[in-house]
Subunit: 459 residues, 2 copies
């Protein structure tokens, strides 16, 4: 029986990949003699392999003399003759890089912390939902009322947004919601203003309907709203709580200015309030939709704050658009799992959602602190940190006169996966490369190890 779910992408046995990676680290001197290796448990969890697999790899390294076991203290690197391995210092050829080096630390932004996931509670509710008769039918086209009621309560308490549950539309992703929304807007609004840099996946949804894009430049200090007056569009897509990707928050003055602009032009603001839950330094600012609900289309989702894989998003529509939307999509089935909706409704109803958010804010705050201090320690003035006040990732502007591509490739050679930001820029390009580091699903130890390896990679 083929166990595809657990399979590595590479065809070689998993233990062999681990073995070869560590052999390379040791041969290159990346892990000095007498330094400890990650514990069996830590490595197995990090690479998503069994502990047996990890142990097999370590035992092979022991057998070949690279490392030694010291009982409960773990495994340590042996003293080796460096000259024997000098070839290993040469960077492998480009197409070899990807197949040879497995990812040890992955700074991707699209995953959530697994350790603190409320597994037992979620399972209990999900299992309970599976016994309900309504779970065996089709759901409501605009989402289950019980979930919309819970979201309405949450939005009022947490984001100051006062809404009728009937004005909430449940969807499966921000893009899917934007495709539906675009359908009712495209005839009246041929173009849309987007932030530059901004959220590229939203642009894809706008391209889907062939909206023309006008760009609003955003800097570390915020967006340059003085450009707005010259633009022709009456529709704008913004991320006010946590600008994607820069991380800056829109000030109250800017928020009011934007609402004034939309009213004057009889336009609409699409407010994507993604990951507004995770703000570490102050209370979150109120949502734009809490200031003026007639001109703001509010988007929220459960991807960052709960679990991206359940594919659960929503929007709140102003009355005028709501009628148009319901008329257009009355005969469309929901794209969102009914089971996930019912489970989430019950999870929120029981107060678990609020508890989860509070718990995760502390967890992610600690991780953010950890990555910031390790970056400062390792890189000092060589990098500038951007967007450390909120969210599940940060950006580093790297002052090393190297290209984005070089930084990513070198990191990859050291088993560290880091991400580009150039894809988020349209015209407003950065003069130095900016690298994105997501940390939500890494432990503090992994974050530190990752940054230390980056230091080696980029030196």
């Amino acid at each position: 029986m083929k166990n595809t779910i657990f399979a590595f992408k590479d065809d070689s046995p998993k233990y062999k990949q681990i073995y070869e990676q560590f052999k390379l680290f040791i041969e290159r001197g990346d892990i000095p003699a007498n330094d400890p290796l990650p514990s069996i448990r830590q490595l197995a969890d990090s690479l998503q392999v069994s502990r047996n697999t990890t142990l097999t790899a370590y035992e092979q390294l022991v057998a070949e003399g690279y490392i030694r076991g010291e009982g409960r203290k773990g495994f340590f690197v042996n003293e080796l003759e460096p000259l024997l391995f000098q070839d290993a210092f040469v960077l492998p050829k480009k197409n070899q890089t990807k197949s040879v080096t497995p990812v040890l630390i992955n700074f991707r932004a699209g995953a959530v912390d697994q350790t603190h996931f409320p597994l037992i509670i979620w399972r209990r509710i999900a299992n309970q939902v599976l016994t309900l008769q309504e779970s065996f039918g089709y759901g409501e086209p605009f989402g289950e009322l019980c979930l919309r009621e819970q979201i309405a309560t949450y939005l009022l308490q947490s984001r100051g947004v006062k809404t009728d549950p009937n004005a909430i539309i449940i969807g499966s992703s921000t893009q899917q919601i934007l495709i539906h929304l675009g359908q009712i807007l495209k005839d009246d609004f041929p173009s849309i203003i987007v932030e530059d840099p901004g959220y590229d996946l939203a642009w894809e949804a706008f391209h889907f309907h062939r909206f023309m894009l006008e760009t609003l430049p955003v800097y570390e200090t915020g967006a340059d709203f003085s450009c707005l007056e010259e633009m022709r569009s009456r529709l704008i897509y913004v991320t006010p709580s946590h600008q994607s990707p820069i991380g800056v928050s829109m000030s109250i003055g800017q928020r009011q200015m934007l609402i004034h602009w939309a009213n004057k032009r009889h336009g609409y603001i699409i407010e994507d309030d993604h990951d507004s839950e995770f703000r570490y330094t102050q209370q979150p600012f109120p949502a734009l939709a809490s200031i003026d609900s007639t001109r703001v289309i509010y988007l929220g989702n459960f991807s960052k704050s709960f679990l991206p894989g359940i594919r659960l998003s929503y929007m709140v529509l102003p009355q005028l658009l709501l009628d148009r939307y319901k008329n257009q999509f009355l005969h469309f089935e929901s794209t969102t799992s009914l089971l996930s909706q019912l489970t989430m409704a019950k999870f929120m109803e029981e107060g678990e959602w609020n508890r989860h958010i509070k718990r995760m804010r502390l967890v992610y705050k600690r991780k953010m602190h950890c990555i910031v201090s390790e970056l400062k320690k390792q890189f000092s003035q060589d990098v500038s940190i951007i967007g450390e006040q909120s969210g599940l990732y940060l950006l580093v502007k790297v002052h090393l006169k190297r290209s984005e591509e070089w930084l990513i490739e070198r990191a990859s050679f050291y088993g560290v996966k880091v991400y580009p930001t150039s894809i988020y820029f349209i015209k407003n390009h950065s003069n130095e490369p900016i690298i994105k580091l997501g940390f939500s699903n890494l432990t503090c130890e992994e974050i530190k190890l990752g940054v230390q390896l980056l230091k080696k990679a980029w030196s």
Copy 2:
């Protein structure tokens, strides 16, 4: 704590609704004296209420003298003075109908059998999937490879369709898939041929992209393909295995003719193979996509055959369209729950999917037999049964010189919900009303009771 998930839509207590419904039945003589009432368990399951609620309603009826309990034998109707209740025979006013009469038997087609759902196995796998690290990230844009591999194996074994897993795209519903598909077709294909009567929800997806619709008339004997030559479109959407809603299968000759047509016009056939799993009289015919994979876009889903609420569909694209599709949607996130995908993949891998289909084919075959024989028994020549050879519903053409609306409303007054088919017709209207009866989530006892009540309602 408000328990929204379990709430009835009406505000009055649930037991009171049951009590009032049965009071009305007894007063009108619909349930004659000394006849048994449904058992507590049966009614509670059918109405999705607790047994206590049902018992409370029955106890109230006992207290008021309508019924009597006879210990383990159950509850029976008492002899009553009919004159006292003659007013009750008058049909209530239109807007009262819906609020007064709760639905006792719902012949809706959009639910699956709950009793035979493999709850324990599904839960076990779903719970296991929640512990995997990959469940905490975003999924692949075109669906998880492990699921696509399983679908490819299934399609080959069951539908004769030979496909590379990479040619399969996972989506959340047929409509969502058609919206994405329409995006890559609309520029080359301004119009599409659809069956009349046909699947109305697919038309909505075509309207989304403003395709012009041409209609191909379908009768109980099949589609009239002689019209095809006069049409301008090069694109057609069909349901060959089980025509939606008529239920007829396309013959091999017609299949070959259609493929020939598509090749000649350099067009495409969208083959929606929904509920092909449930054919009772012969082996299913091979899919169009098994005859010619270059001109056929194959659509399948897990709604009817497994669970509509997990929102899991897929399509198989010919190579030329596949490249265009992947190019267009590379930067779109999947709309389908990652957890459902991983769970379904494992479920299929363990052979549970095949077991489930075999089991359900027997279950639904029994139910189909049950509804057909009860309809014949009750209505004899007054109705014609259409589409009893496959699927989870059938149609009845009613020869009683009554309108569709009247038939539905009268049924509703007797606590039976039945469904119209006029919404599926564009031009090719039926001369007599056709009512749709879905039975997948009803027991044989409920089906019989429902048909018996229909007999009373329509007499």
